[in-house]
Amino acid sequence: MKGLTGYRAYRAHARAAALSALAYRGSFLLALGGVAFQLIALLAVWRVLLGNGDAGSIGGFDWPHMRSYLLVAFATGALVGGFVDFRMSHRIRSGLVSLDLVKPVDYQRARLWECIGGVWIEAVVIVAVAGLAVLFTGPPQLPAAPEFGLFAVSMVALVPLKFVVSYLTTLACFWTENFVGVLWARQALTGLLSGALVPLAFFPGWLATAAQWSPFAGLTSTPALIFIGQATGRHALLLVAAQLGWLTLLWFAARALFDRALRRLTVHGG
């Protein structure tokens, strides 16, 4: 399945996922609600702490920078929501996954394309929320052209990276019935180590360094730091390179894990 026909099959997955997201728009938007309320709470807290711009800075962040950081954190949190992993976990636990396996498409790539199908709807929501936030708190400063390019690359790389982190954890459903526990553990860890809750610079030095070069930094910290201009030049380039490196590594790790997981699969029925 090479060439155009193969690509068309994956595009169909994306389209189906987008349609399903639109059909169940209530649950889809709700998945973004948690991130949106988190944005409101964090904006409110930091506005008080940073005194609306006249209280100097904390941990190297002043109010305009923190505000932009939180907006990017919201965008990265809203992209690639839980839509695909819930469906996938359900299909693995119920055995419906066997129907996915007999399709002449690559399982992992098909799931990625389903993610991509939802991304454009998430992007619309992000633009709307970011617009509102800018309306209430003022426009952000944009980074210089080269950094803006890196920011764009980082945001694009974020989609498959976030997908593969979800995908890897969802594969746990081959071993356990309890997906929610796994999901919460993942959300907790990625929330903290990606810098989505608080910039990594606020952690003790060892943890900040470890988190910065972990696969999780690429989920929020890397694009956010580049956007606000805290990571520039070589440093920014290195961060994006690490992000892409982790993406490649995890992509193939997921393939290896999937092969092992399939051996655990038992599907009943005649």
């Binding site: 649950s27 702490l49 019935e177 907790a188």
Partner: protein, 264 residues
């Protein structure tokens, strides 16, 4: 039916679910680990902020930990003892409520005991530890009266959270959706109350203080116990709890009258 008998049956209903949950022991531990990790991350997040700042609007690290703890405990009680409420939308949509209408036990209790959210257990335990640690780190002036009032206020806070769950889930009688989207959205908004109310703009203060009184789940009770801020408002918590329960019961009753079964 006496209250005692109601309670005994309720415990037995929950117990049946508990036994079936414990059949999957590994899943149980994964759930525990997942929820404990969430609270650990919450505390780590607060510690990271408070490493750089002494207070948020005058509220110390331990005060905010206590607010987070109250939300965790209230949510935990909601999950462990009343998780079935979240199933109400599905029961209405599928007309499964029919079975409950013919059983000699209060319908609302049948609904709420239909499920058990074992994550509630770890939330109560971790929340309790967080609250305990917070209380040992704040120098409140304890008198017997304050201890009693404090306990009443904290229990009322939990009742408020459960009542809001019931009222918002009972809204499913009017919405035809099989999942409780509205209730879940409100539940998510409740997370705002983990931070001191004073950081929010007026509209949000009014929402969390009056319309959806989540501030009485965490902020006001904690401010009473700390004797900080407008502590007296915390004493209103029991009244707010009575009000919330009354509204929730009324909404549920009105909703039940609208219930149409499957229509076939």
């Amino acid at each position: 039916m006496t209250t005692l008998r109601l309670l005994r049956l309720y415990i037995r209903l929950l117990g049946a679910h508990m036994r079936s949950l414990l059949e999957y022991e590994n899943d149980f531990w994964i759930m525990m680990a997942g929820t404990v990790l969430m609270q650990v991350v919450n505390v780590a997040f607060l510690a990271a902020i408070f490493a750089k700042v002494p207070a948020i609007n005058g509220w110390s690290f331990w005060a905010v930990v206590a607010m987070f703890a109250m939300v965790a405990i209230a949510e935990g009680v909601g999950s462990l003892f009343f998780e079935g409420m979240w199933n109400l939308a599905w029961q209405i949509n599928q007309a499964d409520l029919d079975y409950m209408l013919v059983r000699p036990y209060p319908i609302v209790l049948q609904v709420s005991s239909m499920q058990i959210g074992i994550n509630g257990l770890s939330n109560i335990v971790t929340g309790g530890i967080m609250l305990g640690a917070a209380l040992t780190h704040i120098d409140a002036h304890w008198t017997p009266a304050r201890v009693v009032l404090g306990i009443v206020v904290l229990l009322s806070a939990i009742v408020i959270k459960v009542a809001i769950n019931l009222a918002t889930n009972a809204a499913s009688f009017w919405m035809q959706s099989p999942s409780p989207l509205f209730a879940f959205a409100v539940h998510q908004a409740g997370d705002l109350a983990r931070f001191p109310l004073s950081v929010y703009p007026l509209a949000l203060k009014a929402t969390l203080g009056f319309a959806l009184p989540f501030a009485f789940v965490s902020f006001f009770p904690v401010s009473y116990i700390l004797g900080h801020g407008s502590a007296w408002v915390g004493l209103l918590t029991p009244l707010v709890a009575v009000y919330c329960v009354a509204v929730a019961a009324w909404v549920f009753k009105r909703g039940l009258r609208r219930y149409e079964s499957s229509g076939s």
